[in-house]
Symmetry: C2
Subunit: 187 residues, 2 copies
Amino acid sequence: MREPGGKRERIKQEAIRLFAERGVEAVSVRDIAAACDMKAPNLYAHFASKEALAWDLFRDGYAEYGDILAAETAGTAPFRTRLDRLMRAICRLHDTDNDRFRFLVMTQHGYLANVPRDERNPVEVICRAVASAMEAGEIPKREPELMALAVIGIIVQPATARLYGRLTGGLTERADELVAMAWRALS
Amino acid sequence: MREPGGKRERIKQEAIRLFAERGVEAVSVRDIAAACDMKAPNLYAHFASKEALAWDLFRDGYAEYGDILAAETAGTAPFRTRLDRLMRAICRLHDTDNDRFRFLVMTQHGYLANVPRDERNPVEVICRAVASAMEAGEIPKREPELMALAVIGIIVQPATARLYGRLTGGLTERADELVAMAWRALS
DNA sequence: TGTACATCAGTGAACGCGCGTTCACTGATGTAC
DNA sequence: TGTACATCAGTGAACGCGCGTTCACTGATGTAC
């Protein structure tokens, strides 16, 4: 072996950055290769196709996102506490891991329909947290899916607006406000 | 004149349908032409380019959407009433005018940055309604932009989930729940 | 009414372009003896 | 240590394809006299 296996990670990182900036269709494999200081054909030593690369990035990025949320909502703390942790985690991720979030938001319309609805799915994670809080009588019983989606919207819509410069500044500094809003909405 | 000027409208209608189904990049001008029972070159008698057609559709569709919301939030009724009208109108539009909503959601990432931030802009419309309710003391004073975006999220996120089959059934039948949620969130 | 001409919506064929992808090849590195 | 060979990451050149767009042309329709 002449190299550590870091090339594959390098490609993923540059590809996600470019896809996030311009969208999958507007980035050519030559663009990705150039960003990695290599030539286009060499990408095919690591990925079967451009489409496979993009789908890998989406599936993994989405699932890792779900893992983080699952970790935050785990445990036996009161729902209000877990909601707080959950929403702060989302704020932090959006402020920090901008490329990933932008990539997921920009390309969701191509891939979301194919994503597994398992325990790593972020929407499922939040649905389950909300549903269990209802079961436990911590919040009124309503349609859990609808309430979970609305809570997601409360945070994702401002985050998306930030991507377009519609909202300036970070989300983290508004986390208090957003958590309070979500809590009121669910109450 | 051999024909009424309905060709231009026909093109717009078929284009928005196809763009909504597959995304702008995945639809060729030949596809659009075929859907209109014409050949590709003829489209150029009506639009300068494919890009100009897509941008026209987005700009107009977005502005008309804003017009409808502005009409619903106009007047001197209490904010709670106008919020109710506003959100029901959004539910109705999403259930009815599916192509337009899907098109706007799918292509927003390409165009939203270029859209004018004027009195026809839907986000501005809702921002103003929320801000004026705060001024009038009908709801507590907070950052109006953030609150408006969160309210939008409460309804747009479920609507988007519906596009992917993540949520089944209509939005209109859930309008009560959604309005109540938004009202609590703002209170 | 008949005829000659003007108009113009619509098209067939072709254009250059950039794309994703393939493949025979290179040449530096590691291994065997 | 020196030499012959195997390995394999990386590449230059080329491929076919579908795209957006152009343009000279057609032919049905409307108008003038």
